[in-house]
């Protein structure tokens, strides 16, 4: 039981509540064809146009420093092996179409490490 849940129940003086943690089972992601369809959508590949682009100053006064990794690279990494996923974004350009199973493995790893 999570410590915050335990504290809450202690404060309420109730110990007879049913408690359930909703653990993610990332392998079940494969049950949703929409995820695979989205990852294969060619329009997402067009985001490579933003890759390597330096954020320009806003048209008026304001400037935002954008994250270094472009969208295209984010999508591309799903199609790479675990080692490739460690490589810098610039080395992942031109990745092959996404492998949903690789993405699921990655999600599962994150889940097992408690990072997601």
């Amino acid at each position: 039981m999570r410590i915050d849940a335990r504290h809450l129940l202690d404060r309420l003086g109730r110990n007879d509540f049913a408690y359930k943690e909703f653990e993610d089972r990332f392998t079940e992601l494969e049950l949703w064809p929409m995820f695979e369809a989205l990852l294969r959508d060619p329009r997402l590949q067009m985001l490579d146009a933003a890759e390597g682009m330096t954020p320009s100053a806003p048209k008026e006064e304001v400037t935002h420093v954008a994250p270094a990794e472009p969208f295209g690279a984010l999508f591309n990494r799903y199609g790479r092996s675990g080692e490739d996923a460690e490589s810098p974004p610039s080395e992942r350009r031109g990745a092959q179409p996404q492998d949903v199973r690789a993405m699921l493995r990655h999600l599962s790893d994150l889940g097992s490490r408690g990072e997601i």
Binding site: R43, L47, P58, E61, V62, T63, H64, L74, I116
Partner: protein, 250 residues
């Protein structure tokens, strides 16, 4: 003045809620915040505990007509999308040039996609509010395809109304998290306190100070703070507002 544009892929995502609470978080961080809504059917006042019959003053209305809640100047400009002089007007009013502790938060309706594309280049950040639902996910490729690369560079995401007790919701959130990576500023959990606060005509911070959604929304506001910086000119607040100022919600 840094400008933050709040705009969603589709209606009903909770953009107004997020915009209001981002504005409140920035105000609590010491910013002088003006909030501008472009929605014709506007629910913004409700998130500040104001009466539903209240009509917000125009962007161009004099100071004496201002509606100030939680220390935030609430304004409306429903014709902004058709106003060719909107951006020059913002400049003329000093919204784009003045003090670094001033912030303009815009609530742009989901349907005004063309207007959003026009205004985002003038912003320091575009906060895209999404729900962890399949219909929102299905719209993502189209929305990203329509966005310019320059606008995408300014875009960050927040998952709103996340129900972690639902399997599909959790999976969709995990998918979004992987998809956008560090661009995801956070998630706001589904919380019945939000509509209850509106029904009680109270701001969420007063109705349910321990609300999960309130805590999450504050975290998103804090995550936005670094985006207010300009190269060589870090954004600086005047310091946290006093409790009396922060509780000025009408």
């Amino acid at each position: 003045m840094p400008v933050i544009v709040c705009h969603a892929l589709k209606g009903g995502a909770g953009t107004t809620f997020m915009a209001a609470h981002v504005a409140m978080a920035l105000s609590e961080s010491g910013a002088e915040v003006t909030m501008l809504t472009m929605a014709r059917r506007d629910s913004l006042p409700l998130h500040f505990g104001l009466q539903p019959a209240l009509t917000l003053p125009s962007l161009y209305a004099p100071t004496e007509d201002a509606v100030v809640a939680a220390g935030i100047d609430l304004r409306s400009h429903v014709r902004a999308a058709e106003d060719p002089d909107f951006i020059p007007s913002l400049r003329d009013l000093g919204f784009l040039e003045t003090g670094m502790d001033r912030v303009l938060v815009m609530d742009v309706p989901a349907g005004d996609t063309t207007f959003a594309r026009t205004v985002v280049p003038h912003s320091c950040a575009h906060l895209c509010v999404v729900n962890a639902t399949p219909d929102t996910l299905a719209l993502t490729p189209q929305a990203l395809d329509e966005a310019t690369p320059e606008n995408l560079l300014r875009t960050s995401f927040v998952i709103n109304a996340l129900d972690e007790t639902r399997r599909l919701s959790r999976h969709a959130a995990a998918f979004i998290r992987e998809l956008v990576g560090p661009r995801l500023l956070g998630r706001v959990r589904l919380d019945e306190s939000v509509p209850e606060a509106i029904a009680s005509l109270q701001p969420l911070s007063r109705y349910a100070p321990s609300s999960a959604a309130l805590s999450d929304a504050r975290a998103v506001g804090a995550a936005l703070l670094p985006m207010l910086d300009r190269p060589g000119k870090p954004w600086t607040a005047r310091g946290p507002q006093s409790a009396s100022s922060a509780s000025r919600a009408a």
